[in-house]
Amino acid sequence: MRGAGAFFEERQLLPLAPRAISTSSPLVRSDGAKGALFTVHVKTVVTSNLLFRISALEILEGTFYQITQNVTITAPGTYIIAVGPGVALQPAGETADTTHANVVQAVGTPLPDQWRLSMNKGDGSLWEYGVAVRLVA
């Protein structure tokens, strides 16, 4: 197990590639991390939308349950999702959201031990995108 201060380098969970169907990442172990910063880089879009969500694995029967609300993406760009205790779009004492519009969701729960992300396509058109994650101790 890697504790506080562990060196977690960014890694690509879904490499940049054209995809027409809904896709899930491989199963990821949090490896002691409390949170994560996800980067969804959408290079080309066609029609409909793309939904980003994170699902946790329960180990009793091996099923997944969704832990984050869907983030709906409709245009090219780089989208950031922050997960973990203490994350906030508007920290206490600030009078407004201090994050840029690139930051589309902040989720205040710790990561589960095992999880995956899913990118659900709204239709069968070919979108080119990639997703990376940086675990945060």
Binding site: A4, G5, A6, F7, F8, E9, E10, Q12, P15, L16, K34, G35, A36, L37, T39, H41, K43, T78, I80, A82, G84, P85, G86, V87, A88, L89, Q90, P91, A92, G93, E94, A96, D97, T98, T99, H100, N102, V103, A106, G130, A132, R134, V136, A137
Partner: protein, 135 residues
Amino acid sequence: MALTQDQIALALGTYSALEVDSLDLRAHGAAGLYVTLHVKTAGTSTVAVRLQGKEPFEGTYYTLNVDATVTVASRWVWVFGPGAIKQPDGEAAATVTTNFKQFVGIPIPDVFRVQLAKGDTSDWVLGVTVRRIYG
């Protein structure tokens, strides 16, 4: 290896361009960042500190915080990371000084740079340091 000491992101110097970028920096496992902007001589208009992540697919940069501008010489601070707050629970108001320009409550990217966004091309004498904050 944790890097806990101040690092110079932009050396003290005269800057006139509308946008000035640091070299790419690494988080080295840190969750947050304490950024100090030392403005020795202010020009006209404004300057803001942007933290920009570098996405690993095409190497483009994206901005993480909205602009919080300064107009005068002083030492100015930006704080990034989960749990960064200006006003702790139980305090009636912010307990940090007005040197603190902005708190941004999300983790820093693995690869990032500091960008100075200036309101015009006047000369400013300034420098920027970063200190990584570990969870």
